[in-house]
């Protein structure tokens, strides 16, 4: 394992520790969310890491014993472009907690202005038949006059 992946293992462990705290937390205290893992990662990865996909198993101890969680990160130009958490726990409560965490963790995308992206082409479905558009306009006009 090179030093770069070791660096990321540390990050993966931070994610796992966040989860560990979550798993430890009392049921009555369940509204306390785990520390946002994504924020932690972005702050950590400031130096030059090699582009690629890194995957590590994070270890932590739950009240029920040792557990693992799989963390996968994709790095590009020192920025995490993608991340995925896969539950590995087998003990029922840990499994439930990890699954809830992974679901919450699911990546959400946002839009960026096309003009800022230097694109050759756009793949999408916004161009629609003229007939359809005309019909929609007619319906809109009718709706206005009613």
């Amino acid at each position: 394992m090179n030093s770069k992946t070791t660096g990321l293992l540390v990050i993966a462990l931070i994610v796992a520790i966040g989860l560990g705290i979550f798993a430890f937390s009392d049921k009555t205290n369940k509204e306390t969310p785990p520390a946002s893992p994504k924020t932690v990662e972005v702050r950590q990865v400031t130096t030059s890491y090699k582009d690629g996909v890194y995957e590590q198993l994070g270890d932590y101890t739950s009240p029920a014993g040792a557990e693992q969680i799989d963390v996968k990160l994709t790095l590009k130009n020192g920025v995490i472009t993608e991340s995925e958490v896969t539950p590995k726990a087998e003990k029922p409560i840990s499994k439930m907690k990890q699954e809830a965490f992974a679901k919450e963790y699911k990546s959400s995308v946002i839009g960026k202005n096309i003009n800022d992206l230097q694109l050759g082409k756009i793949a999408g479905a916004s161009l629609t038949p003229k007939g359809f558009n005309d019909a929609l306009e007619k319906i809109k006009a009718q709706a206005k006059t009613v």
């Binding site: 959400s108 995308v109 946002i110 839009g111 082409k121 629609t128």
Partner: protein, 289 residues
């Protein structure tokens, strides 16, 4: 010197760029060839033309000889019909008409009826189809993809191996250098949710957001008779546009696992909560929150 041309056909805008060296006369000739072929295709497959092949020949009981370009289309439709348990079907035509997506674009929904099973309607034995029961066919979920592939063959046959075909933002690319392709945000067309880099192959998208009216959009599940509303958009990368186009609709109807064993493709599905699901090799730069 120009190496591009643009025209309207099958209800969309085509933009064709030839990367291989081409002179103005060759370009003009190529444009004419392609326009004629697109017109022939529309005469054959358009559900919106009363005199089209599918609105005339396929409406009569008995054996019909299919046109030469129908083999790939019908074969793929049949394969996908099986893989999706009948959810991807050309017999959705009647349902679309009932929902208001008809020749006049009335967009006034009436009562929807479950379409017949394909095997009860017709037997396919290419080049023949034996129509047992008259039905309204719609090949809109893959027809554009097939036409893109047909157009690409014309360009290659004319001696231009490098080009880009963009038919309403469904793309087929044959290029020696990679092109950055933005994944259009279905909720805001000024934006992209990511970028794909492609040099050879096709990327096609489907979205419910644009062609929608009332509770419906252009994809309707033939079993539930509703338009899937958990998915905002899908993108599929495949070698051919026919497959990419068809699968982008299939992903609205079935989970990707139903399709991956039988077809070679990469995909990205965008859900209504902006979360995504994608195949492991859908190589893209995505913009995350």
């Amino acid at each position: 010197m120009s190496n591009t041309f643009s025209f309207k056909g099958i209800g969309t805008i085509w933009e064709i760029e030839i990367y291989s060296p081409i002179n103005p006369t060759q370009l003009e000739y190529l444009e004419e060839l392609i326009k004629k072929r697109v017109e022939l295709f529309e005469q054959t497959y358009s559900r919106f033309r009363p005199d089209s092949f599918i609105n005339s020949a396929l409406m009569q009981i008995g054996a019909v000889k299919l046109p030469p370009d129908a083999e790939k289309l019908f074969t793929l439709y049949k394969e996908l019909y099986t893989a999706t348990g009948g959810l991807f079907t050309p017999l959705i035509g009647q349902v679309l008409v009932e929902a208001g997506y008809d020749k006049e674009y009335s967009l006034i929904p009436k009562t929807l009826h479950t379409p017949p099973a394909w095997e009860d309607t017709a037997d396919l034995s290419y080049p023949f189809i034996n129509i047992k029961k008259s039905a309204t066919y719609d090949f809109g979920a893959a027809g554009k993809g097939l036409l893109i592939d047909i157009v690409s063959q014309i360009i290659i046959e004319q001696g231009f191996p490098e080009f880009c075909i963009d038919a309403g933002k469904d793309i087929l690319l044959y290029s020696s250098k990679p092109i950055r392709i933005g994944l259009e945000n279905p909720l805001d067309f000024k934006e992209a949710i990511g970028v794909v880099t492609l040099s050879k192959g096709s990327i096609c998208a489907s979205a419910g957001s644009r062609r929608s009216w009332g509770p419906y959009h252009h994809i309707i599940n033939p079993k539930t008779l509703t338009s899937p509303n958990k998915i905002l958009a899908t993108w599929v990368i495949a070698k051919e546009a026919l497959l990419a186009d068809a699968l982008s609709t299939c992903l609205f109807l079935v989970p990707a696992e139903k399709l991956t064993p039988y077809f070679s493709f990469e995909y990205l599905t965008l859900y209504e909560d902006n979360s995504i699901e994608k195949s492991s090799s859908f190589s893209s730069e995505l913009f995350f929150k």
